[in-house]
Each structure stands twice: as structure tokens, then as C-alpha cells.
Amino acid sequence: MELLKAGSLSPILVLDLLLRGEAAIPGVHLIGERVGSRGVVVGFDADTVYTIRVGATPSEVLLAALQDLAWLKEEESLVRAIFPQTARPLTGVILAADLFPSGFSSLLQVFSFPCRFFRWIALGDLACPALVFEPYPPPISGSGTAVERTTEEEERFFSSW
């Protein structure tokens, strides 16, 4: 399988693949239909109900996602009626994009609501694409990895003063 060029899949198609169960976001269950008059796509994990926005870049869909979040908060009873398992008090936003600008993850801490980012990678060909979603920033496990180690610059900064 070959990696498709970034942005070659339309966000609408990505959402359709998710709703049809032909792609999955790790740890997130999707309601298999658009909910409410605005057609918001809703998902949930262990403790949070999310509105889901997909786009080529996160910045282009962030504002729309925030509007969805406001809708989700207002229409919590509607969501609960359609899918009782999602009856949880928290609401948040999932943003899935195929490209994140450098340092975008630092934005996570300024949101006052749960927010999860996923990078989507398209494989195969345009006629029959396969999608992989991975958490962004990528999780780092174990100890002593290159990312965990302090750099020479850091060592100097904290030692020579």
C-alpha cells in the first residue's frame, strides 16, 4: 500500500468512511449516524462525549469544531436520547487532520474542555482508500528514548549558571 499525498482525500469522505465503520479512531466509539439538524458527528470514549471534526489542517476546522461543541452542550439531551451510553457530563472536541503544524500540540493545554487530536494517514489509492488514525502527538512509551534524553543545549542551560 502506498501513502496517498497529504490532503488528497476530502474531509467529507473521511467522515463517511468513519461513519460506515470502514475506519476507526483508536479508543473512540462513533455513533454511526450524524446527529441533529446540523449533522454533527458524535463519538465517545471512556469518560467524554466528543464532537468530531475532520479536515486537512486543524486550524481550518477548529472554529467549526468549537461551534459543534456549543451545539453538543446545548443538545446533550438529544444525544442522550439517541444513544444512552453517551450520557456523560463532559463534552469535548476531537480534531482529526492529516497535517499538524509544528508546536500545535502545545495548544492542548489552553483548551478548557477535553480535546483530542488525531492525525489521519491515507493509504492505498483514491478509489479504495484505507485510513489509519494515530494520536497526536504520538505517544511515547518506555524510558530512555531519544526524546526523553536531555540534549547538550539543555544540559548547558541547567548546569552552567
Partner: protein, 212 residues
């Protein structure tokens, strides 16, 4: 019983029966060898700020039948190892508390399990410049696992050295890890005031589950 005590008693009873929302969880990460006392002082100061504190420490020694000890400063302390216990007492204590504190060491095995559950991480920094690089190495190992977690900095000691360590960490975390740490100062009361001033979200699930 004085009216003041009666009022506090009513508050406690009320919080037990009415509080179904678990209290926020704060990790106090010791980044130096002698920072246990700093953690205890912060717990005591939070209690003096009117918060009911339940502190769990990895090196707590249970010396009687009771799981939870009530310290002279007023806060309650228990062993971190009790997390697996489905204890009605711990569940009740959690519900009655305003804040759960975890006094942690960067090398304890339970840290990867605890990190995702925290609402705030306070780095307890050594007050000596020579210990700063060791503290940073430990802090970096932990922080890159949860970059989304709000982080506060507290340096033990009120001297110039502690202030210098604090300032260096603020700048270092900002430049190298792109974090925006909160400044909780160099004294336990300022740290407690800083924590109380935050509007921390409550976790969705309680930390302790009772048997009932």
C-alpha cells in the same frame, strides 16, 4: 460543641452525602532527595486554606489498624499502594475531600498509571542550583508523557538560590518543552494559594471505589 465546630460538622456531613463529584487530583512530584517535607507543608497549607486534603504518599508507613492517619496539621494521609483496594472507607474519604494529593517520586512504578488520572502536576524543585540539572532530567522524562497536563513549579527554600532555580525551570520548560508552567513560588502558603486559585476540573470517575 461550639457553633463553629457544629458548622464545620454540618459541612462535612453535607459534603459526604451530597458530593458525588470526585475531587481534583494533584500530583506533587519530588525532583530532589529532601522534598518530602515540602509536600507535607503544601498539604498543611491547603488545609489551612479551608480545603479538606487527602494525601497519598509512596513512602507512607501505616502504623496501626487505620488506613488513613489524621496529621496534626489537619490533613489526612494514606498509602499510595492502597489504590487497588475497594475500600468503603477510602471511597468515603475521597468523597468528603476537596483535593486528592499524590506525593510522588519520578521513579515509582505506579507513575505511568497515575499520570493520566491527574488534573495538575506540581514539580517540587530543589532549592540548590547544583541539583537543577538532575531535577530537569527527571522532569522531562515525566512531562513528555503528558504534555497536556497543567504544570506548576514550586522551589523549596526561600533564598535566592530557590528563586533562581524556579526562574530557570520556568524558562527551560518554556523554551525546550514548549510548556507554560504556573509559578507557585517558594513557600508552601504561596503554593497553596496558587492551587486554590485554579479552577480545576473534576475527574469523571472516582479514584477509589467502595464495596457497597
Amino acid at each position: 460543641m461550639s457553633s463553629e465546630n457544629g458548622g464545620k460538622g454540618v459541612q462535612l456531613i453535607g459534603s459526604y452525602f451530597l458530593s458525588v463529584i470526585p475531587p481534583p487530583r494533584i500530583g506533587l512530584l519530588r525532583l530532589g532527595p529532601s522534598l518530602h517535607r515540602a509536600g507535607m507543608a503544601i498539604a498543611a497549607s491547603l488545609e489551612r486554606e479551608g480545603k479538606r486534603i487527602l494525601l497519598f504518599s509512596s513512602d507512607y508507613q501505616r502504623d496501626g489498624a487505620e488506613v488513613i492517619a489524621v496529621r496534626p496539621e489537619g490533613f489526612r494521609e494514606g498509602p499510595l499502594a492502597e489504590w487497588k483496594t475497594c475500600s468503603e472507607q477510602l471511597s468515603r474519604e475521597e468523597r468528603a475531600s476537596d483535593l486528592l494529593l499524590f506525593l510522588l517520586h519520578p521513579d515509582i512504578p505506579s507513575l505511568p498509571r497515575l499520570l493520566p488520572l491527574l488534573n495538575l502536576l506540581v514539580l517540587l524543585l530543589p532549592g540548590e542550583r547544583g541539583e537543577a540539572i538532575g531535577a530537569y532530567r527527571s522532569a522531562k522524562r515525566v512531562l513528555i508523557q503528558r504534555r497536556d497536563l497543567p504544570v506548576g513549579l514550586f522551589a523549596a527554600g526561600e533564598g535566592e538560590a530557590a528563586v533562581a532555580v524556579l526562574d530557570r525551570f520556568r524558562l527551560g520548560l518554556c523554551v525546550f518543552l514548549r510548556l507554560r508552567p504556573l509559578n507557585f513560588g517558594t513557600t508552601a502558603p504561596t503554593c497553596a494559594k496558587g492551587i486554590v486559585g485554579l479552577k480545576l476540573d473534576s475527574p469523571a470517575e472516582p479514584y477509589f471505589h467502595g464495596t457497597a
